[in-house]
C-alpha cells in the first residue's frame, strides 16, 4: 500500500509511479518522491488554512522567551540603522553595570567579528553571529547562540541586531523589548519613514545628542513623530560617547533588571 495516501498500490502494476522531479529533499520529503498516483490527471482541490508567515520564527521565539523567563534573563533586542551607536551604547553600559549583574551580548552582523571584539575588550561575554546575506537575526539562530554562549541565571542579555531599520522589526527573538537606537545625524523624521520599527519597539534611544549643535535635528519633532506611530514608546535621549544623560538609561535598565530578578525569585 502506498504509505502516503493509502491508495492500495503495492508495486506499480496497475497504477503509475510518478517521480516528482527535483523536489527539495528535506528528509521528511524523500518518502514522497515516488508517491503513487491513480490517473495522470488529478483534479485540483482547495485547502483552507490560517498559517502565519512568521509561524516558524514565532515558535522558536516563544521557546526562547520561556527559557529567559525560567532563568530570570532580561533580554533586549537592539535595532537601528548602521552606525547609530548600538555597540558603543553596549560597551559603555557594560563598563558601568558589569559589577551589578552578569551581562552577555549576542552580536549580529553580516560580516566580521569587530563588534564582539569590542564587547570582549570590556570584559563582557560576547558571541558573534554572522548572518551573511540575511539582513536580520532570527529566533532559531538566537536559540543556538544562547546555548553556545551559556547564559547565567538572573543576568542581562543584549542582542545587537544587524544594522537595518526595516527587516528586524518583523522577527521576534523572544526578547522582553525591542530598543530602537536613532542617532541625531539620521534626521528627525525617521520614526515616520520606518514606522514598522518604531511601532514594534518599546523603547527609543535618541543617541549622539552631543552633536545636536551641528545638525538640523529637532528632538521635540522626532519625539512627536515616534509617539504618533507608537503612543506608548519610552524615549531616552543621550550621548553614548560623551555620557550626557546616560544615567537615565542605566537607571531604566537596573530597575527593569530588578523586576525580572524579583519575579524569577517568586
Amino acid at each position: 500500500m502506498c504509505g502516503i495516501c493509502g491508495c492500495g498500490d503495492s508495486g506499480g502494476q496497475s497504477g503509475k509511479f510518478v517521480p516528482i522531479k527535483n523536489m527539495s529533499f528535506s528528509p521528511v520529503m524523500s518518502s514522497f518522491q515516488y508517491h503513487h498516483r491513480e490517473d495522470s490527471v488529478e483534479k485540483s482541490r482547495l485547502i483552507q488554512m490560517e498559517v502565519d508567515l512568521l509561524s516558524k520564527n514565532n515558535v522558536y521565539a516563544t521557546k526562547n522567551r520561556h527559557y529567559f523567563q525560567e532563568h530570570g534573563v532580561f533580554v533586549l533586542n537592539l535595532v537601528s540603522s548602521p552606525g547609530a551607536g548600538k555597540t558603543t551604547l553596549l560597551v559603555e553600559t557594560i563598563k558601568i553595570l558589569k559589577n551589578f549583574f552578569p551581562i552577555a551580548v549576542i552580536e549580529g552582523d553580516q560580516q566580521t567579528q569587530h563588534d564582539a571584539d569590542r564587547i570582549r575588550a570590556t570584559g563582557g561575554r560576547a558571541l558573534q553571529i554572522n548572518t551573511g546575506r540575511a539582513c536580520h537575526l532570527d529566533a532559531q539562530g538566537i536559540g543556538s547562540a544562547m546555548m553556545q554562549l551559556g547564559i547565567e541565571n538572573n543576568s542581562f542579555l543584549a542582542i545587537e541586531n544587524v544594522g537595518n531599520l526595516v527587516c528586524p522589526s518583523a522577527f521576534d527573538l523572544g526578547e522582553a523589548h525591542k530598543v530602537v537606537v536613532l542617532s541625531v545625524t539620521e534626521g528627525d523624521d525617521k520614526p515616520l519613514k520606518y514606522a514598522d520599527m518604531f511601532y514594534a519597539a518599546d523603547v527609543m534611544i535618541i543617541n549622539k545628542i552631543d552633536l545636536l549643535p551641528y545638525v538640523d535635528f529637532d528632538v521635540a519633532r522626532c519625539i512627536a513623530f515616534a509617539l504618533q506611530v507608537n503612543p506608548s514608546i519610552h524615549i531616552i535621549s543621550l550621548s553614548a560617547t560623551k555620557g550626557d544623560n546616560f544615567g537615565e538609561w542605566t537607571h531604566w535598565l537596573r530597575s527593569s533588571m530588578e523586576k525580572v530578578i524579583k519575579s524569577h525569585a517568586l
Binding site: 528535506s26 520529503m29 482541490r45 508567515l53 518583523a170 503612543p231
Partner: protein
C-alpha cells in the same frame, strides 16, 4: 530582504502540509496581507520563483488578498480607517488608535493536486 525568509517559511509550510493533506503539486497560494504589515508585495512576487524553484510549488501562482487597515480610537471609541501605522483618528484627530486589522501576513488557501 526579509521577504526571502517569509517565502522560505511558506515553502516549509507547504512541504509539511503536502504530507498531512496528501498533495504533490501546488497550483495557487493565497496570501492574506494586511495593508499595514511590513510586507512588500513586489518583493514577494519577485523572490517567489527563485525560492519555490525545485519545490512542489515550482509553477504555483500567488494570489494576494489585501486586508484594509482599521483601528479604534482610544479617545472617541469610533472605528477609523488606517493606511499607515501613524494615521490619526478621522473623527477627532487623536493619534492613539488601537489597530484592529491590517497587520496580517497569513497563508489562507492552497489550490493543490
Amino acid at each position: 530582504m526579509h521577504e526571502l525568509s517569509l517565502l522560505e517559511n511558506v515553502r516549509s509550510i507547504l512541504e509539511a502540509h503536502a504530507l498531512s493533506e496528501n498533495f504533490q503539486i501546488v497550483e495557487n497560494i493565497t496570501l492574506e496581507i494586511g495593508a499595514l504589515s511590513c510586507v512588500e508585495l513586489d518583493a514577494l512576487t519577485f523572490a517567489f520563483e527563485s525560492v519555490m524553484k525545485d519545490s512542489l510549488a515550482e509553477h504555483a501562482e500567488l494570489t494576494f488578498k489585501i486586508i484594509e487597515g482599521q483601528g479604534r480610537c482610544v479617545q472617541c471609541s469610533q472605528l477609523t480607517p488606517m493606511s499607515e501605522l501613524y494615521d490619526v483618528c478621522v473623527h477627532c484627530g487623536h493619534f492613539r488608535v488601537e489597530i484592529l486589522s491590517g497587520l496580517e501576513m497569513k497563508i489562507t488557501e492552497l489550490k493543490v493536486r
